[in-house]
């Protein structure tokens, strides 16, 4: 019988590697995420099927499965952004609770409000008298018909 000599160094290295492998934690198998952790992410996503329904409160079977998927992905060590991106890739940007293009989303109403403000400022300039200071009394509302105008004239004379 032929004898095979394996170098001691090689055996030691093999044992060390085996021990390291056995001792290291199994990848992507953390503790089961809680309902609150799942809902924290599900709250930021909308059901791809139902209208205007956040994923954390959607009662359908499909939504339950999507929440289970979030739980699995969390247990696998995925981050919040990665999970959201996964849903976007699968179902489109409509699953997000805000459009991804924030600039356009906020710019249009922002500009409209600014224009409204400028319009109001212009209106103030048009309506204001040049000397708008002092303690001017409140102006009376102009009379609407001749009888009332005469009435007010008479009252003024009697003062």
């Amino acid at each position: 019988m032929k004898v095979v000599y394996i170098p001691k160094l090689l055996v030691a290295a093999f044992l060390a590697l085996s021990l390291a492998f056995l001792a290291s934690p199994a990848p992507a198998q953390g503790p089961t995420p809680t309902d609150d952790e799942v809902n924290r992410i599900a709250k930021q996503l909308y059901c791809p099927v139902c209208e205007s329904t956040p994923l954390d409160v959607c009662p359908t079977e499909a939504c339950r499965q999507w929440r289970d998927l979030i739980r699995t992905m969390l247990a696998d060590g995925k981050s919040e952004e990665e999970i959201k991106q996964y849903f976007v890739t699968q179902y489109g940007v409509r699953v997000l609770d805000e459009p991804p293009n924030r600039v356009l989303t906020y710019l249009v109403p922002g500009v409209a409000i600014l224009l409204g403000g400028l319009l109001l400022l212009r209106g103030f300039q048009m309506w204001m008298k040049p000397s708008g200071t002092g303690t001017a009394a409140v102006e009376n509302q102009p009379a609407q018909d001749p009888y009332v105008a005469r009435l007010e004239e008479e009252l003024k004379k009697q003062k």
Binding site: P54, P59, L96, P99, Y106, F124, K129
Partner: protein, 690 residues
């Protein structure tokens, strides 16, 4: 047979409204008073005709005539009678008919008043009211017939107004039943309240158009419709609050407002309506903003139609669904036509709407009211953009997006904050003129007191900046308003010798609009406390508990005791009801019973929360219906909503405030005055005092 009769009456009503429109126009143009009177009487006839139509529909609903498509869709045998009646507005066709019925009632009420001074308005008020009515009735007649019956044909079972040649009338054994979510009391009252608000706003709009057409561009039309606008605003406000309460009670997400497009659709006319109620005061007091007030009421009217359109046309599910729906393009066309025609009238009367006075100060009340309008319009712009942006995105890029609460909350919070600040400042500014000095003199005391309250809250309640700013503004507004109220009562007490309570009472009675308005402002601040509480301080958790197990949240201990499930066959419901014991600091507070109701007819569930309410907070517990319940455990979602009941309390005070503001004024008090006048010897000239 009965259904055909109902349709016949509906069709006749449509013809009568058309007659009314043309008779009023022709009678006015040709100066034929008898024809205008005929138009008025025709319009008065629409209400009994529509009542008869509605009566037929209700008869069909109550008596299980499932061969009628609408009855089949919204009722079932197991529903109690009162729910079958309210199912009238539980579906599209019925709710359009309900809209028309309310419109005819209000139009009739308006035309029954005395028209002596305002005769020239009458034909055009009739025209606008009847054009609106004709539109809604026309949609029922031609597109959404509530009396369409189900026929079996070679192409399957379909609804038809008249029997098709190869059709056999089909009567299902039972109906689909009303969506369980709509069987809540809040949902029973919410649509009628909203529709009351929507429809009432048509009246001021009709008068505005009449004013433009006739050239009566003074504020007469505003004075005539002031109470209409206020009541419309009350109904709309209450409709929104009831919708919020319904959402809180049955939708199962622990909130009252989700910035859902349908919610926003009803909110938008409220924004312009509120701006309008403030802005018309400027026209009445100072003769200014005539163009703007016209534009505001036109915008309110079209937003009312737009709101009805958004909830009925299917456009929100998809812009393509809009194109496929029959009524979507019709609504769109009607809105476009009325908006363009109304704005064209403003342009036609532009010079006649010129301001009569000028502004003297940027801190005057009219200037601050204008700022108020800017803020309301800004919130409107945010809401409108949030609603249409998904449609625009789909139309132009093919990509569907969702605009959810984060956008609305971020964009509107500073605007609401600015509005609150204005609510604190404006009541103390004067019409015509105010300076920093005069305003500062009156504002500093409430401002300092509000700061003191905020500092106290910082040390005792919260360090969150957003909450502290909100509470400061709430305290500021309430203190300013009470201060204003007190100043008036104190002055009255000194001059009239009344005690302070009588002075308060009489002061309110003497100027109901003003002091009713102050009560409304205070009520809004109470609602703001509730909103701040739930939005900033809400905590939630979800967990599966075995029987006897408990969990902790926000100082409460919640222990799951037991669960039971049983069916009520006559009612067609299966109940799953849990028992939860509540403790705080070891002390037993009571038992809650969150449950799940499963409706056999519609195969849908409704989650009913167990809710313990105090002014401090709500402990709100849901039995989560999408997780299986077993003998080992049940899943609960628990919310603690601090201060939320201030929202509902505020809404009750709001109701009182609007009633006070809208109540007819008392006669002017008679106060003895000494007058010196020279009386000529020969003859006595009547003086202006006569």
């Amino acid at each position: 047979m009965i259904a055909n009769f109902g349709f016949g009456v509906l069709f006749i009503t449509f013809l009568v409204t058309l007659y009314s429109v043309f008779a009023a126009i022709y009678g006015d143009r040709r100066q034929i008073p008898a024809l205008v009177e005929s138009a008025r009487r025709a319009m008065l006839m629409t209400w009994p005709l529509l009542t008869l139509t509605a009566g037929v529909l209700i008869y069909l609903l109550i008596n299980n005539h499932f061969e009628v498509q609408f009855v089949y869709e919204v009722t079932s045998r197991s529903m109690p009678t009162y729910l079958k009646v309210t199912a009238w507005w539980g579906g599209q066709a019925g709710s359009l008919l309900f809209w028309s019925w309310l419109m005819s009632a209000f139009a009739s009420l308006v035309t029954l008043r005395k028209w002596d001074r305002d005769r020239e308005f009458l034909p055009w008020v009739i025209v606008v009211a009847c054009v609106t009515m004709a539109f809604f009735i026309g949609m029922n007649v031609f597109f959404e017939n509530p009396f369409a019956q189900l026929y079996q044909t070679f192409e399957g079972v379909k609804p038809y107004t008249f029997r098709p040649p190869d059709g056999i009338l089909m009567t299902p054994d039972d109906g689909r039943g009303l969506n369980p979510l709509l069987r809540h009391p809040g949902m029973i009252i919410h649509p009628p309240m909203l529709y009351l608000g929507f429809v009432s706003f048509v009246i001021p709009y009709a008068f505005a158009i009449a004013a433009l057409i006739t050239g009566r561009t003074d504020d007469r039309w505003i004075r005539l419709t002031r109470r209409w606008a206020l009541w419309a605003w009350l109904f709309l406000s209450f409709g929104l609050v009831l919708g919020g309460r319904w959402a809180y009670d049955v939708l199962g997400w622990g909130g009252y407002w989700g910035w859902d497009p349908v919610e926003i659709a009803a909110f938008m006319p409220w924004l312009t309506g509120t701006a309008f109620l403030h802005s018309v005061m400027i026209q009445e007091k100072r003769g200014m903003l005539k163009h703007w007030n016209m534009l505001l009421i036109i915008l309110t009217y079209d937003l009312v139609i737009f709101g009805t359109f958004l909830t009925r046309s299917g456009v929100l599910s998809s812009v393509h669904a809009f194109a496929q729906s029959a009524i979507g393009p019709l609504f769109f066309t009607f809105i476009g036509f009325t908006l363009i025609a109304s704005v064209a009238l403003i342009i036609y009367r532009w010079s006649g709407l010129r301001s009569e006075t000028e502004m003297t100060s940027m801190l005057s009340r009219e200037a601050l009211f204008l700022l108020n309008n800017l803020l309301f319009m800004s919130i409107l712009v945010v809401c409108f953009w949030g609603v249409i942006f998904p449609l625009i995105s789909e139309l132009f890029s093919g990509q569907k997006v969702t605009v959810g609460p984060p956008f609305y909350e971020r964009a509107t919070s500073p605007l609401f904050g600015a509005l609150m600040l204005l609510m604190g400042v404006a009541p103390l500014s004067a019409w015509g003129h105010s300076t920093v000095k005069t305003l500062g003199r009156t504002l500093w005391k409430p401002a300092v007191a509000a700061v003191a309250i905020t500092v106290l809250l910082f040390f005792t309640y919260t360090q969150k900046i957003g909450a502290l700013i909100g509470f400061f503004l709430v305290a500021f507004v309430i203190l300013v308003t009470i201060y204003e109220y007190w100043r008036g009562a104190y002055a009255r007490q000194r001059s009239q010798g009344e005690n302070i309570f009588t002075a308060f009472w009489n002061l309110t009675g003497r100027n109901r609009r003003r002091y009713g308005g102050y009560i409304i402002h205070i009520s809004m601040m109470l609602m703001a406390i509730g909103i701040l509480g739930i939005e900033i301080f809400q905590v939630e958790t979800q967990g599966t508990l075995a029987q006897g197990e408990s969990l902790e949240i926000a100082g409460y201990t919640v222990q799951y005791k037991e669960i039971a499930s049983w069916s009520d066959a006559p009612a067609g419901v299966n109940y799953t009801r849990s028992v939860i014991d509540i403790y705080r600091d070891g002390k037993f507070l009571g038992e809650l019973n969150p449950r799940i109701d499963y409706y056999f007819d519609s195969q849908q569930t409704m989650t009913i929360p167990g809710n313990r309410s105090t002014m401090r907070d709500d402990l709100y517990i849901l039995l989560v219906d999408w997780e299986p319940v077993s003998s080992t455990g049940a899943t609960f979602k628990i919310y603690v909503n601090p201060l939320v009941n201030w929202l509902w309390l505020g809404s009750l005070l709001f109701l009182a405030g609007v009633v006070i503001a809208a109540w007819p004024e008392k006669e002017a008090e008679r106060v003895p005055v000494t007058v010196r006048a020279r009386v000529p010897q020969q003859e006595q000239t009547p003086s202006a005092a006569d």
